[in-house]
């Protein structure tokens, strides 16, 4: 990705919609970012002017709605997202992006296995829309029915969608990684032609990474970290990984947020 295409756009919020308990979808008019963003990339949003909160917040891009609207799916987790949720359509925010390295879908895949946990679904919705392959399988895990984000409308290319909740209040009961494990065990003939794309909490990603290794299925994971700049300058967003087989800290903003699962030192997380 060329650095020259990173833009700081003073963008109008065009809509905010509640999608689930504490989860909102926001449309932001950022034509420059919308034009070049790929699934897995993110934006840094300044939730308001002024000095408190000081830092921008990173958000995965959840999709692009023509013309020029960037979609951000976010969960209320702290002060920054609370402020964001109170922004009304017509107001403007500063949006920096698109940032980082996105997913690199293998076009030869017969089947893309999309695995998400909670709000980690955001970049995978964007990926699902951009996949050319007609055979994608979306496995989305949530804590309970109140957190479930309906993905059917978003996933035109996913004939199969599994909703999994930890308490069984919607879809199947259990963890999304249980479903992934079953699929991988059951479909030996498909393994060689599948790839996993995952985003979610670290314990989930750890499990996904170990399954990908066990069954020899390539896997790309989208990671998150505290970060200040999003541009590779502050070096704050370090995750333990490997560079050219040597142990190194990788930076989520620049080396990621999407990494081959084998490049992360999961045992150190």
């Amino acid at each position: 990705m060329s650095k020259a295409c990173v833009m700081d756009e003073n963008s109008e919020v065009v809509f905010q919609r509640k999608m689930a308990d504490g989860v909102f979808l926001m449309g932001i008019e950022s034509p420059g970012i919308a034009a070049t963003a790929i699934p897995g990339q993110f934006v840094m949003i300044r939730v308001r002017d002024g000095l408190d909160p000081l830092l921008r917040r990173p958000f995965s891009i959840c999709g692009i709605r023509e013309p020029g609207v960037v979609l951000v799916l976010y969960m209320l987790v702290g002060e920054g997202t609370q402020i964001l949720s109170r922004i009304l359509p017509g107001e403007r925010i500063s949006v920096l992006g698109p940032l980082g390295r996105g997913f690199k879908p293998d076009e030869k895949d017969s089947r893309a296995l999309l695995v998400s946990g909670g709000i980690g679904i955001a970049p995978l919705i964007f990926l699902a829309r951009r996949l050319r392959s007609g055979e994608a399988l979306f496995m989305a895990g949530f804590r309970s029915s109140r957190q479930v984000i309906q993905v059917r409308s978003a996933c035109l290319v996913c004939p199969e969608i599994y909703i999994v909740t930890e308490d069984g209040s919607e879809g199947e009961r259990g963890l999304v990684t249980d479903i992934l494990a079953e699929r991988l065990k059951g479909a030996a003939s498909e393994r060689g032609r599948s790839s996993i794309y995952a985003c979610g909490p670290v314990p989930m990603l750890k499990k996904v990474a170990s399954l990908s290794k066990e069954f020899g299925v390539p896997c790309q994971v989208s990671m998150e970290a505290h970060m200040a700049c999003g541009l590779g300058a502050c070096q704050g967003c370090a995750v333990p990984g490997k560079r050219a087989l040597a142990d190194a800290y990788l930076h989520v903003c620049k080396d990621g947020p999407v990494f081959p699962a084998g490049n992360i030192r999961w045992e150190s997380l």
Partner: protein
């Protein structure tokens, strides 16, 4: 009206304006090149360079605090050789002053770094980091003791072929004592303040938030502390003071200049607004024109006290 002269001179090096991007907040320049013309800066200080590459501290390395942030990066950097091979060719093509920040574990390492930079083109000044709170040996251990600060300064000055700026720590009883010591040891200028040592606690886990336990506080929260130290220091030494600490706009920058700074550095603000430094330059220009100030250097130390 004639345009105000924003040019300043630090140790014989002419800067086109007094606004410099601070070390550790601006990468090696390239990171921001797509967002604005970085040649419009007075200068930029690269991420601190050590002899060998450093991985830095375990994460989390960043936590936001009221009007500020703590970082415990731990001077992660690509090391001297990679810097010279991979970063300097780009930097030497810039038409802004490139300042190389160096950091060592021992006086010998500081001297070696200064020697290794000798004769390289594209570097205007050296900034010596004796004030990083995030590394165990070296760093602030030198900067909190006037004698050690002087010895590091002397070692660097005697090996370097460029003027030397020493970056001072605020984590001291009297910053003027350190400033005087490094001036006497041959420093051409001082820059201050580096971050203030601090910590954050995760209530849920009853543990420090930062992987390194402690970190350096920066951002607008530290501005009053920084201003006072710049004011104090400028009055007690003869070499130029480069002021920094929480500057986010041109008004902040001018306050530092009036308090005694010959130039300023913009740090944390680069993270919030990548164009912060150019906006500061533009604001200073307009202020000078509105107030009929012919030369920005006339404002340095002009505080009425």
């Amino acid at each position: 009206m004639t345009e105000a002269d924003l040019g300043v001179e630090i140790a014989g090096v002419k800067l086109k304006n007094p606004v410099i991007a601070a070390s550790g907040t601006f990468g090696y320049g390239e990171e921001y090149a797509g967002l604005f013309d970085i040649n419009s800066l007075g200068g930029l200080v690269v991420k601190g360079i050590s002899l060998k590459p450093r991985q830095g501290n375990p994460p989390p390395r960043i936590v936001e605090t009221p009007c500020g942030m703590l970082n415990s990066i731990g001077l992660a950097n690509i090391g001297l050789d990679a810097f010279v091979k991979e970063k300097l060719p780009y930097l030497s093509g810039l038409s802004t002053a490139v300042i190389v920040n160096i950091y060592g574990h021992s006086i010998k390492e500081y001297a070696e770094l200064a020697g290794a930079l000798k004769g390289l083109s594209g570097i205007s000044l050296i900034e010596v980091n004796i004030s990083c709170p995030n590394v165990e040996c070296g760093g602030m251990a030198f900067g909190t003791d006037p004698d050690m600060s002087a010895r590091v300064t002397d070692a660097v000055v005697s090996r370097a072929d460029l003027p030397v700026i020493v970056k001072l720590s605020p984590n001291v009883t009297d910053i003027r004592a350190v400033a005087r010591a490094v001036e006497k040891a041959g420093a051409s200028a001082v820059s201050l303040i580096n971050t203030l040592t601090g910590m954050a606690v995760d209530l849920g886990r009853r543990s420090p938030v930062l992987g390194n336990v402690i970190g350096g506080l920066s951002g607008p929260a530290i501005k009053p502390v920084a201003l006072y130290m710049v004011y104090q220091t400028a009055k007690s030494i003869g070499i130029p003071v480069i002021g920094m600490g929480g500057i986010v706009n041109y008004r902040d920058a001018l306050e530092f200049i009036i308090a005694g700074a010959s130039a300023v550095q913009i740090g944390t603000a680069n993270f919030i607004n990548p164009r912060a430094a150019v906006e500061v330059i533009e604001g200073i220009r307009q202020y000078c024109e509105t107030n009929a100030i012919a030369r920005i250097s006339d404002l340095t130390g002009s505080i009425r006290a």
